[in-house]
Symmetry: C2
Subunit: 638 residues, 2 copies
Amino acid sequence: MNANPKFIASEAQVDNAAVAPLPASRKVYVEGSRADIRVPMREVSQTDTPATFGAAEKNPPVYVYDTSGPYTDPAAKIDIRSGLAPLREAWIEERGDTEKLAGPTSRYGQERLADAKLAELRFNLKRNPRRAKAGANVTQMHYARRGLVTPEMEYIAIRENLQRREYLERMRTAGPMGQRMADLLGRQHRGESFGASIPEEVTAEFVRSEVARGRAIIPANVNHPESEPMIIGRNFLVKINANIGNSALTSSIAEEVDKMTWSIRWGGDTVMDLSTGKHIHETREWIVRNSPVPIGTVPIYQALEKVDGKAEDLTWEIFRDTLIEQAEQGVDYFTIHAGVRLPYIPMTANRMTGIVSRGGSIMAKWCLSHHKESFLYERFEEICDIMKAYDVSFSLGDGLRPGSIYDANDEAQLAELKTLGELTTIAWKHDVQVMIEGPGHVPMQLIKENMELELEQCHEAPFYTLGPLTTDIAPGYDHITSGIGAAQIGWYGTAMLCYVTPKEHLGLPDKDDVKDGIITYKIAAHAADLAKGHPGAQIRDNALSKARFEFRWDDQFNLGLDPDKAKQFHDETLPQEGAKLAHFCSMCGPHFCSMKITQDVRDFAAKHGVAEADALKKGMEVKAVEFVKSGGEVYRKA
Amino acid sequence: MNANPKFIASEAQVDNAAVAPLPASRKVYVEGSRADIRVPMREVSQTDTPATFGAAEKNPPVYVYDTSGPYTDPAAKIDIRSGLAPLREAWIEERGDTEKLAGPTSRYGQERLADAKLAELRFNLKRNPRRAKAGANVTQMHYARRGLVTPEMEYIAIRENLQRREYLERMRTAGPMGQRMADLLGRQHRGESFGASIPEEVTAEFVRSEVARGRAIIPANVNHPESEPMIIGRNFLVKINANIGNSALTSSIAEEVDKMTWSIRWGGDTVMDLSTGKHIHETREWIVRNSPVPIGTVPIYQALEKVDGKAEDLTWEIFRDTLIEQAEQGVDYFTIHAGVRLPYIPMTANRMTGIVSRGGSIMAKWCLSHHKESFLYERFEEICDIMKAYDVSFSLGDGLRPGSIYDANDEAQLAELKTLGELTTIAWKHDVQVMIEGPGHVPMQLIKENMELELEQCHEAPFYTLGPLTTDIAPGYDHITSGIGAAQIGWYGTAMLCYVTPKEHLGLPDKDDVKDGIITYKIAAHAADLAKGHPGAQIRDNALSKARFEFRWDDQFNLGLDPDKAKQFHDETLPQEGAKLAHFCSMCGPHFCSMKITQDVRDFAAKHGVAEADALKKGMEVKAVEFVKSGGEVYRKA
């Protein structure tokens, strides 16, 4: 259990582990059509191919998607007491459709601000919240539908392309070896995207059109100007979400901020703050002000705290105040379980594990206690009015998702999904952005049905799933049981995968668990991108495999998702620095290496040329004179 | 790096970590038609459902497949210096088709035995090797084709059924709650098996017929009578293999025996000894004598050691002597890369990562050096003659498997696969058992093609794949990149999955890595069984989910694949013993628990009955009087 040292705002500092650049990595910014569109990427440099591999080749730097924000930029001044720079502020301001408020308009927000006892915990926000002017709609969907390409959209287009074209173009023009390199490093297998429409290159106009038709969302609250725009949609790179949050039992504000910076360092595209303990409001402020990625929450958790955990005491007024409170802090998307309708609740009675969603069970209890339809369902249009005043996106919660293989794809789950589709149509009427949450626990053969039903019934709104876990029998390893399902559903079309950590079902994740969860989900998301045939997805695999084949150990580590662990694992067997220059590895040792023997084959083919190789293929006799003459010696000196 | 303390045979002892029974587990033996057919299973007992969950239910013990051999049987006397009891000895003897030899007949085996310097390392085997009598064929396939149901086949049938029928039957007859329990715990989703023919219940005759037609193999060398019979085939439970083995750089005999006992403790169905260092022969003897699971090897590794690592110096005579040496020690299956034909070698020249199989690259070098067709291919029938004299199964090696996503499903790989199909036909002519090795590195959308081509071109011989890894970008996490692919290809029909550890590509696995690899692959195999709809596969998921829902924490841990880790993770957040009796968990704390709220729903439905629940579903108004009357109080005292 954590010691929970007292958190003091004036002494808060960033976790050192989250700010060092990754090895051989440099933060670069690609500029857009205006100077304030500066899109970050991580440039991973490589060493040259040793001349022993036939030719000394210059291996170009690889650009990878970078979610880590200014933390990994040595030029940025990081002070979590001041928060990040509000990079979208000018864009929001320019649109002229928002106004600065005099202060928080939620009752709760005002109370917390007035509470002197909280001064020590409070983030020192000098900026007042912003809201749409009367009658205005400030969602990215609204702009998109009016044909407006926002700076956010242009930013996203640049970000999604990852300089792929430039990377290959630079090689092709780099001399005689260039074309070969570009072919080798740029080639990719044909994908199977199950009906997705992924363009060769993402344009700002494509981003706009996808947002306009609801197939993608840009979670970007006007009160979170610190966020670096990103997109969630089936025709873009698959994204992942990391959950953090304290509970009644453990964890402090500082720990949660640390988990956020840690999550984005390893690739979290969004972060959900699921706090349920004390100081939810203050914790959230610290997280949002310091987060370059969109933040999601489940407002009903906090609403429940406000009624001392008694679900039946929840009211629309308390919930509404909570939405406004959080929207004015800058939360980018809200999970709202508006699909948990009264008639569906008895459908869960014969389940193995009932209702496992916390939000779902809160609403179920409320509905049963009052014997009334859910106020979230009945007040949905009022909720839309709040969402569009701040551009908060819906993440329509799957409160009836299955909590076990037994309950997968059952009547309750599918009834709710259909309702989420109806709600999507209502939200879109208000130009409010929507994604749909999905399960849960699903055996592999039933995963595809989830995706197909979601696309059909929710009109291609982006799907955002928790795993799914493909078996229940491995507590302690549910990052893996669910990573298997996540890769598959990502392939089938899910736009964002909510991570599961090894502690799922057992306890609260610590930083190691968060990292294990993130890396597992980066793997799942990338495997999905590859399988869908996302253009350029294979570039990183190709570069890493070339480094591996050429025994460029450090390059292999650095191009991986977790350079630290790769290096550590290598060094456990071969700790000497020289071993990382050696042309062999610990698996076989210096006298027995398949990679080296392969090089012979290549040399042989090169020496004997295409004609002879073709003859060989046909089974004809060809004398391998030169090869035999050279004594068959293949082991080069390291 | 390992310290490698000197190994002294007379002091060797079993690793303590491998012999304690797992928590709440008891080794039981199910007797077959004769007293010496005693099939081990692990019986995991459970606590009763607390009365607070509506009714105090007796949760029956669950039977799980047990690969750990006598090590986890407190009644067994374990002394690794004596090896395990030869449980199949009488069955082999009875068949009357083998003879005891005067000693090893391989030249190398004789030399090692005569070498006094090795006395200190040597396992003290008092039994002479056995071989088929002149003209006899002692393979399980041969018996199967002659219509003979061997004790091995009966043993396997009992083992595969896992007492499923008895488990459910006992519940049904256990009183009024029994039928409900049997329905809840026995229900399973319909599978998608892609054309497999999995019977409701496995009979010995079914085992025989599958072996006869080559769709399954029973690796069971007559010189490995210690092994507990198991089967590898698409219509049986998906199996996993763990690789162990020292290299030139590290690891000792004691460590390898430890890794073997550790592997089978966590679920390894077979173990491959891939040693390449010194004392391969002696290490193997220790492993085989103490292994209750089939042992596989790659004989070319040892043959290469015998010619000091010079592939071009390999000869058929040396290889042949190695096969006999290992067959007489009791190796159950040999990986033989007879599909790496001379004409295919140039096809690898333009690969990203060439030939990554060690065996494949050795043979490629031999072929190139001599400019001759592979002696493994040319002497294949002679190899079959050796295999059938001891009942060693072929694992036809995929020497040209892809070593990167880039190289997946390429010309070289698929050319070799076709040849493996031709060789299968030849082996079957000799009634020699065959499985086919498969890749490797394959993106998800290309995995199915591998399975389909294998089934078609290799005539449904069991497929045995290494992963496949679904991306190259995560060194340090390749148990996960490959677990994703393994689950999928297992679902599509692969019979055995060769594990990959986190150290893949980086270093030699230690015991933690072995365990991580095994658990990941047990997950993949089980997820595949569930997806195929293997009868009874969901029993363990259902039992564990019921325990989870009822807050039977210890039962949840104990039914999992790794009770130790589950408990450890739980205790990190809530270390008190009382917390394991608590009706809440660390994720939400005592005042906020979705599982508890669900129980309300269930109580509500029970109180109000079917009619009212149906009315609710139809959206009618029904007064929830009793629920409201009870004050909506749901939190029971822990």
